[in-house]
Amino acid sequence: MSAPLIELRHVGKSFAAVRALEDVSLSIGRGEIHCLAGENGSGKSTLIKVISGVWQPDQGELLIDGQRIEGMTPRAAIAHGVQVIYQDFSLFGNLSVAENLALSSELQEGRKLVSWRRVREIARRAIDRLGVDLPLDALVETLPTSGKQLVAIARALMSDPRLLIMDEPTTALTGREVAALFRVVRDIQSRGIAVLFVSHKMREMLEISERLTVIRSGRVVAAGPIAEFDEAAITRAMTGQEIAAEGYRWEPTPNAAPLLEVENLTIPGQLEDVSLHILPGEIVGVSGLLGSGRTELALALFGMQPGYTGRIRIAGREVRLDSVQRAIDHGIAYVPEDRLTEGLFLAQTIDRNMLATSLGRLSRAGIIQPGRAARDAAGMIREMAIATPTGDRPVTQLSGGNQQRVVIGRWLLNDPRLLILNGPTVGVDVGSKSGIHRKIRELARARGLGVLMISDDLPELVENCNRILVLHRGRLVSDTPVEATSETALGEQLAALA
């Protein structure tokens, strides 16, 4: 058997006193789809950077085609055929698709002048090679995430790579887009290009990869052909603990009045005649393809779609939700999908983020009462089990899962009746994810909170909700108790709508 394409032997890497990687060995064969799994902070990114030459290992060796490589640099890595597609894609939103594709090869050839005809030719070739259809003249920023990703992949393939590293490629994609991405990845593989797929989503790993390496705290904790793994085994390896799916069992309180009743909610072009209700303690899931109107539904309930028609009743009283303030006053809380840009004040401390929506309640005559504020913040940090010694640290120091807890905790301080979660665990790692899930279920049960959970993550819905709604093209197409459905059934239903 010939030498593997890339092999790491006993690699170690430290930053100051922190050991990011310790005794990591890994080999990737030619044309192999290899999955690298690990939670945030496990050393995944450090490992990618060692392979792509950004950082040099302190110990161990790196071999390509069985040859030991000394002093790998990013340039040398590219010359050896290693291409990385970063999570942010590293594209230029303000430039056309064609130019994004052509730039790097033009630069590599040392061109000084730009021939727009050649730029288009290069781009056309790159796109044809990938076998996809992309508008050459469109600005990249106008493309959906999946389109941007294809541009990034097409660009990476232009330099005839032998190993394509994809960092969390499915994070921002919908189920259907993930399927399309997997077709592209398999097609890339069929040309003998190896793919290192970095992920923390188990289902995807099991579906796409041939071999799996799991790292935790900078060490390889499990490795082998994918057939040797199942979900539970991967989770165990990644978190070092057993996380079992529990499910949410909700017992209706007899004669409880609905918390929220929506009748014939319509927003022209976005929602069509949607009626639903949520009882206290219910966790209702909302699924649907992109453009199904699920986010619009959330925004409407949060007072951000003042032009709606239809009736909304909260605790039996008819209300008009035509501003965010009004929605908040009625006890509605919304945790947006993109917490980094919409939900958090990144430059501020954990405490300040936590108290952002409680300032009115905490002030007397316009002056914040520091004692109460500090008590409330500290209490919620404890209740949400946020991993920080004190609340005066910058919120950016927290991991994704803990940041999400800050956003949820902030709303809980207002004592809401209805909590709307949009993609509650997007970009959050497995261990933290199940912690958030447990917390949400606990809140619904203990406080009688109604939860509307919008998610692409079907297992997440099935695990946490007692009822699941499916929206399609602005209409509510089904409303099923969770016992009557399953992840597979939901997946099939969504696939049929696509």
Binding site: S90, L91, F92, K112, V114
Partner: protein
Amino acid sequence: MSGIAQAFRRHPELMVAAVLVVTVVTIGLVNPLFWQPSNLFSLLRASVITGILGLAVLLVMLSGGIDVSFPAFAIAAMYLTVKAMIAWGFDSILPAFAMATGIGLLLGLVNAVFVHYLRMIPLIVTLGTGTAVRGFILGVVGTSQINIDQMPPKLIDFARTQLFSVTQADGSQAGLSAMVLVYAVIALLIHLLLRHTMLGRGIYALGGGEEAARRVGFNIRQTTFLIYGLAGAIAGFAGLLHGAMIWTANPRDMVGLELDVIAAVVLGGASIFGGRGSVIGTILGGLTLVVITNSLIILGIDTTWQRVVVGLIVIAATAATAWRDRKRIA
């Protein structure tokens, strides 16, 4: 997105072109004297300095920065050059403009050093260098204005060159300044640089994202020095041209001009967030600004309202580009 919005998005120049046409037609309807060749030629002449400086600002703005030091650099280059011409007794055009351009270039490179090596915010850097340079000129070089009687004659002759002249209805002559041609040549060169060289695309790429530009292989240091050096050089050149065109070298000139120029560039569709804008847009933006501010008299509006108008244009144009870029910011 509707067809028109789409067209405006892809070609922001269309928006400013439409604004210009509407402005011109409106003013022409209110006062037909607007259409007199002498008025049109004088508007073109008046847009030369704003326009050339606008091109300097465009370079910086495309990369995601902003420059407020250029009026100071322009005045420094002009005043030092004219002083030197008088002191050393040379009045040839080429060395004079070479000197002014060179002074501007050096000052621009100072900006680049701060922006690149110290990773400082361009607004703060240029605010500092601009103020320091102005203070240096007034404190060390001199505060006295050099009037037409002392200005090097060849410089003034050069600026008075006309491309052609026409006889107007009342029998008077109206000539088009050749400085319009100078402006056109500079604009063409910058256009070619931005559109057809990798250096120019590097400026757009830098405005699109510095990290991405670095990863794809652009030399960020080289690009930054090119941007600020060239912007300074253009400012220096425009400074001397300005002095020649008004026959005076006043070290206190051009105060507050940065806002007019930035207004023109933003009006021309450039984004203050970087990565968007074009030479054609900037030319049209400069022309629109000059037409609006200079036509207040024709419209019978007190000229003290000029500053109000400029301020409103900055706000309106920034609002329009922000609306256009709203997806990107979100």
